[in-house]
């Protein structure tokens, strides 16, 4: 059966594939944001800090459809059954990652409202922790999606 990837019906009926597609956006945006933030920290360069902020904003926004599509996949594909093993770990790590991304964004947003826009140093630790959780979640998600499988 030939499939037209630009057909709306095909896209909508692609079951939970949207989660696998959408997840790349917050991962890339957040990693880029952290990289820009570390650069801004080292160079004291304002454009780097701005780039970090706006990447973080988009990463946080993208976590919403990602979490929603993940939960929808759980309800749709597994009818909300009690999760175990890798599926449960992926869900828990995914929620923690999303929470940490929002926390980092919140720290940056609050700092931007201050007159000197100074960011607390502890946010670098939170960012590093978030990167670890994002990496672990993506690693488990890769296994679940069958990236290691045939074709």
């Amino acid at each position: 059966m030939s499939v037209n990837p630009f057909d709306i019906k095909t896209v909508v009926l692609a079951k939970h594939a949207q989660h696998v597609v959408l997840i790349h956006f917050p991962i890339a945006l957040f990693l880029a944001a952290v990289a820009f933030d570390y650069l801004a920290q080292r160079t004291k360069n304002k454009p780097f800090a701005d780039a970090a902020y706006f990447n973080l904003l988009l990463a946080a926004v993208f976590t919403v459809p990602v979490v929603a599509s993940g939960l929808a996949a759980w309800q749709w594909a597994l009818e909300g059954e009690k999760l175990r093993g890798i599926l449960l770990l992926h869900l828990v790590f995914g929620c923690i990652s999303s929470g940490l991304i929002w926390l980092v964004f919140g720290i940056h947003r609050r700092a931007r409202k201050l007159p000197d826009r100074s960011l607390p140093n502890y946010r670098l630790v939170v960012e590093a922790l978030a990167v670890v959780f994002v990496g672990l979640t993506g690693h488990l998600g890769g296994f679940l999606s069958g990236v290691n499988g045939p074709g």
Partner: protein, 114 residues
Amino acid sequence: MIRKSVCVASLAAIIVLFFTISPSITAKAQQPAAVEVKIDNFSFGPQAQSVPAGTTVTWTNRDDIPHTVVSTDGVFKSKALDTDEKFSYTFAKAGTFAYFCSIHPKMTGKIVVQ
């Protein structure tokens, strides 16, 4: 006279033995064999399986990650099977039963019940 008695006794023994054993042989021949489908490396093996009606098919997940066995027509549906977990379904009626893994919809298979 004794030889005749021995012959009759032997014949009787053979008849009794035949009637004792034959029902179990017949029953074994009539009992549908259990069929196993392995889930491994993101595929069902064999992908298509023909079985007589009344056969119980057992799917075993030999993969490292969870899979499900879900009938396209909603006839049967397993929970998420972790490694080495099994799911069985007895096919009472004839027909073709297509199924897939709801976590990985590209994984498909079918059971043809004759």
